[in-house]
Symmetry: C2
Subunit: 337 residues, 2 copies
């Protein structure tokens, strides 16, 4: 088990060589087991793929989820000064309090799907800088948030559910995507928590400003210049989970965009990550195509908080229940095809 | 609470006037509650719709699932004499034994998602007649199966998960759909448990034969002539659940096709039914369009047994957990938009 340390952003690319990959023997054993279970081969569809994926990362034929950790990172964003969000910025701290008191969607969904939730508020009283004026974070601030994210991961978890909260962070996400994957600002912005057409047009202008100012650099430099603390923390958590060999369930548009700098640094950084659901935020489909990820669910959700990831955890539990608990044709005395 | 009695098939259409409808006041109260919960309105997508749907059928603002019943009906089909299935017909009974011993997918999925499973085997040793030769069932046989289905429903269940098992029943389903909704046999047949191209072509010829012989009549007469005992039992269970005011989760292609005769009799018969998932069986999308039903999941599943419905039950539990457990803006002291 490796505890990652983030000293300079340019180190991140070099981590890959020291990180574990999926265990090919366990993948093969799980695939062979699926062929013997009492069902037509392939008939459980995505549930079979999920069980085989988990086998690879847990390094065993029959993976289990005994401990599921959910982490929600919260941050505030200087770009809110541009008026990009219909909710006031105080809502970030208010919602963190709501998480802590058990009243938010993610609390109910973690309880319903068996995840242990922790909420990490990242200096909410000190928003990042407005990226239309200067870099959102210094390198030191970005490294600090990466470390906070990494340190939050429990090495004993069997799976990690990730989410975020931060008023203004659909604008942050659009800026990251546009800078990392190209396209115009308007290709990536959307209504977020509820912007109208004028609000979306404003978000596109703000994102364009940010790209003009900070649209070049390494992906991790772009994360510092355009991202926020919760985005950096999510990157840190994804890297640390990988170091521990823990598979990850990413939530929707904002959570997936947050870790896009890792993908842009090196696509294999996200090999241990599932994407929970297709958000209705219009940039998400484009982003998932860029990442080559197929979401598990498509429920018209657009809340964030890790809400879609917690629902997908339930589907993952169903997948492992079948894989681990079903009888084989031989055990059950059922004739094959 | 009404226990339905099936004396003649032509009675079925007349049941509608005595069956409950969703409670409009509870729907309105649940919708108003969703607007007050600490999230942007609509941001939980389908989870909000599911909670409001359940409120209507349970007749309360905050519906709950304390008891979930799962019923799997199994039957055998004379049309298997035409060689339409790659698995031998004995597999139906072998799989019923597997269900009873806890070794099938549906056992694991009911356990993972909290449903109490019962399996009802319907005269497996006496398959229905081969519909290319004569009617699959007499009216008396069809009525008997309807009654078996109705009698299996537990009046105290909060939700009913439905599934089926029966070698040959993807052919039965295609025949029912073609006769009820039109189109050619090849519009509705597919690989089922694993037919190759030649097998699918054979299924289409067999379905055409059945339509030529039995393609006219009332929908319930078509059920008797082309369907099987598990299809009739599923119709009986859906009607009985409606009489008890219990919402239903239908599984995939075969389960949905089984109750299509009710829809064709009167579309409102299925108002209390959700469709769990989009099967990969190609006829399912066409069938869902005909029924105007939007599946909850699309996981590439094609097993039957109620497997997709049991996974969808987990999503439904998540929906109700949010609806019932979240704080309102006022309770949490969170600022609205």
């Amino acid at each position: 088990m490796t505890s990652l340390r983030f000293n300079v952003l340019s180190d991140v690319a070099g981590f890959l060589s020291s990180l574990p990959t999926a265990d090919a023997n366990s993948v093969e054993a799980a695939r062979a087991r699926q062929m013997q279970l009492t069902k037509p081969p392939g008939s459980l569809g995505r549930l079979e793929d999920l069980a085989i994926f988990m086998a690879g990362w847990q390094g065993c034929e029959r993976p289990e989820i005994n401990a599921a950790q959910a982490l929600v990172f919260a941050g505030n964003h200087g770009v809110c000064a541009q008026g990009v969000n219909p909710f006031p910025q105080e809502v970030t701290a208010q919602m963190v309090a709501n998480f802590q008191h058990g009243g938010a969607a993610i609390n109910q969904l973690c309880s319903a799907n068996g995840a242990d939730l922790s909420v990490i508020a990242l200096e909410l009283e000190t928003p990042t800088a407005d990226f239309t004026r200067g870099p959102a974070m210094t390198e030191a601030e970005c490294l600090e948030a990466l470390t906070r994210g990494a340190d939050a991961v429990d090495s004993s978890a069997d799976v990690l559910v990730l989410g975020e909260m931060g008023i203004g962070n659909s604008t942050i996400s659009a800026a990251l995507c546009a800078a990392l994957f190209g396209g115009s600002a308007s290709d990536w912005v959307g209504p977020g928590t509820g912007s109208d057409d004028a609000g979306i047009a404003l978000k596109a202008r703000v994102v364009s400003d940010g790209m003009t100012r900070h649209g070049v650099g390494t992906p991790m430099e772009i994360l510092a210049a355009l991202g926020g603390r919760e985005q950096a923390a999510l990157c840190g958590a994804v890297l640390q989970a990988r170091a521990y060999g823990i598979p990850v369930i990413l939530d929707g548009f904002i959570c997936t965009a947050a870790v896009a700098p890792l993908f842009a640094t090196e696509p294999a950084f996200l090999d241990h990550c599932l994407v929970a659901h297709m958000s209705t935020e219009p940039g998400h489909q484009r982003l998932l195509e860029a990442l080559g990820k197929d979401p598990i669910l498509s429920l018209g959700m657009r809340l964030g908080e890790g809400s879609g990831a917690a629902v997908a955890l339930g589907v993952l539990r169903s997948a492992l229940a079948c894989h681990g608990g079903m009888a084989t044709f031989a055990e059950a005395g059922v004739s094959g095809a």
